[in-house]
Amino acid sequence: MRKTLLDIKNLRLSFFTPAGEVKALNDISISMQEGDVLGIVGESGSGKSVTASAIMGLTAYPGKIIGGTIDFNGHRINEMSEKEMRKIRGKEVSMIFQDPMTSLNPVYTIGNQIMEVLKLHTDLNKQQAYERSVELLKLVGINEPEKRLKQYPHELSGGMRQRVMIAIGLACEPKLLIADEPTTALDVTIQAQILELMMELKNKINMSIIMITHDLGIVANMCDKIVVMYAGKVVETGTADEIFYNPKHEYTKGLLRSIPKLDSEKHEKLIPIEGTPVDLLNPPAGCPFAPRCGQCMKICLKRMPEFTELSDTHKSACWMLQKEAFEQKRREEK
């Protein structure tokens, strides 16, 4: 049995805005083992990125964790002070952001920004830090690293900048790398390069990855385990095969039906999910997906369903499954 690296339990996180409380994360539990590649999928506003920043201890004002725990590698993150957090952020857990254009500092050279991480977390001297930076840039496939270290972010292309971000993220060989939509701003051919690189590095330095994306294709390619989120709730988790071949939650099913598949031979009409994403200021009382769900029942509008365990790894929160389980039980009793 591998070690549990990250364990989020019943996490609640709200943003207290002038318009009211936005429940960005509403009682979510996620756990992952060492060496896993975990994919978090969901549409904008589902809470993917908020989860990531909570793990990093970077929840921004007016957001606040109001319940639950985050345990990472022996640290209880939600109880740590900023000073303690700084010691592990960048060293044990690091993050790659969506937009490589804005997440690098434009007034410092690439070298400066990579060496900053090394200076903070390791006791390498200047010369050693420089050599390590050269090594890191080589690792992420940037040629002429000595020249690049002297350049500024604007002199590099989007793909190169994202590589630099990855190099910074990997500088201290973290246990966990959180990639928040790392390739959304990039073209497909560059995306393929970056994803390939991440998987290669994962095996080389034995880290775990949380991959946050809305692209189901990327998730199918990379992830062992998938968490599907909707409106601040986890609605289904399972292995990649379970989610793609045996989805149980109506949202997951709808999502899979609504994307065109490049390898399908004939022209099938897409089946969209009707309606619009929920307004988190006024979330519905029951299951958040109920207003858009084709199978919606009365109870769905009133109460949130519990998780139904379908296998050791697969669970889903939907009243349909509860109903099936109940009916089966009744049949057995008869």
């Binding site: 549409e43 904008s44 292309s157 793909g159 190169m160 073209d187 497909v188 051919t189 560059i190 995306q191 393929a192 390069q193 994803l195 390939e196 809305h214 692209d215 189901l216 294709g217 990327i218 998730v219 199918a220 390619n221 990649a240 095969d241 793609f244 071949y245 709808g254 999502l255 899979l256 039906r257 609504s258 994307i259 065109p260 598949k261 490049l262 390898d263 031979e265 022209h267 009409k269 897409l270 089946i271 969209p272 999910i273 009707e274 619009t276 994403p277």
Partner: protein, 334 residues
């Protein structure tokens, strides 16, 4: 006889683009001027009632092509023939009624100070399509209806709508003048996955009902494959391959198309495990200094001396399938 001939071509081909060139001047130093060759000698036809997809990476010229066809830019060279008439130099006013565009960003393309009714009514007013105020209102409501919105939406402002609804408003505005041809410039890339299918289906339904012809520009190849009859692939201002969409996805011959298609992540764990990706080296060169000869030669695995000096021409390799490459036999052998 000749007249009948002319008539039949007039009926089949709606838009004909011949050797279109679009250069943008950029100042370079104090006196010298350089040109970005955004589109360089591109030719294709769009048949009446069909959807032609254009794909390629950012900066390849797909958006510029769409805008040049509508003469939103003045083409540097070449000809645009619409319904048998050369419109490269004519006054566009009468053609604006026939040719419309839907933009990428539904947040930026609607005037925030106008009500939805006025946004849709503006093209009706400009083209004096409504005889009376009552008729105008009726036409606006009809358009709203057609894109799945209802009459109460006419008095609201764009900020009150979600991304998907705004895109519907943008489409209603394009449809208001009852056009024949619509350039769809990345109309779904700013939308959530669950909403994309709604909009794609709507484009298809409208095409069926109103007999529209689309130029569908997008970087998401799975969506383009789904909606288009034929697809053109662009690279650095050149059309490198053009074929029926099924043919292009499954029997592509240009090395760039191959790597582009293989880089698209497929939302299916089993087939993506089996699939072999062709990962390209490096980035797209700057359009300011495109490579001589074949523009793809710097990243192409098949490139040799000839590719560096001689530019390949777009030639028909089988019925309706065009490609521009010197080494088609070698690529196909693989």
């Amino acid at each position: 006889m000749s007249l009948a001939n002319e008539k039949s071509t007039k009926n089949n081909t709606l838009v004909e683009v011949r050797n279109l060139k679009q250069y943008f001047p950029v100042s370079y130093g104090l006196f010298s001027k350089k040109y970005i060759k955004a589109i360089d000698d591109v030719s294709f036809n769009i048949k009446r009632g069909e959807t032609l997809g254009l794909v390629g990476e950012s900066g390849c010229g797909k958006t510029t092509t769409g805008r040049s066809i509508l003469r939103l830019y003045e083409p540097t060279g070449g000809r645009i023939i619409y319904d048998g008439v050369d419109i490269t130099k004519v006054d566009m006013k009468p053609y604006r009624k026939k040719m419309q565009i839907v933009f990428q960003d539904p947040y930026a393309s609607l005037d925030p100070r106008m009500t939805v009714g006025d946004i849709i009514g503006e093209p009706i007013d400009i083209n004096k399509l409504a005889g009376s105020k009552k008729e105008r209102t009726y036409m606006i409501l009809e358009m709203l209806n057609r894109v799945g919105l209802n009459s109460e939406h006419a008095n609201r402002y764009p900020h009150e709508f979600s991304g998907g609804q705004r895109q519907r408003i943008g489409i209603a505005r394009a449809l208001a003048v009852n056009p024949e041809f619509i350039v769809c410039d990345e109309p779904i890339s700013a939308l959530d996955v669950s909403i994309q299918a709604q909009i794609v289906n709507m484009f298809e339904e409208l095409q069926e009902k109103m007999g529209l012809t689309y130029l569908f520009i997008a970087h998401d190849i799975s969506v383009v494959e789904h909606i288009s009859n034929r697809i053109g692939v662009m690279y650095l201002g050149k059309l490198v391959e053009l074929a029926d969409s099924h043919e292009l996805v499954f029997h592509n011959v240009h090395p760039y198309t191959r790597s582009l298609i293989s880089a698209v992540p497929i939302p299916d764990p089993a087939s993506s495990r089996k699939r072999k990706r062709i990962v390209l080296e490096g980035d797209v060169p700057s359009p300011l200094n495109p490579p001589s000869g074949c523009r793809f030669c710097t990243r192409c695995p098949y490139a040799d001396e000839r590719c560096k000096t001689e530019e390949p021409k777009l030639t028909e390799i089988s019925n309706g399938h065009y490609a521009a490459c010197h080494h088609l036999d070698k690529v196909q052998g693989n």
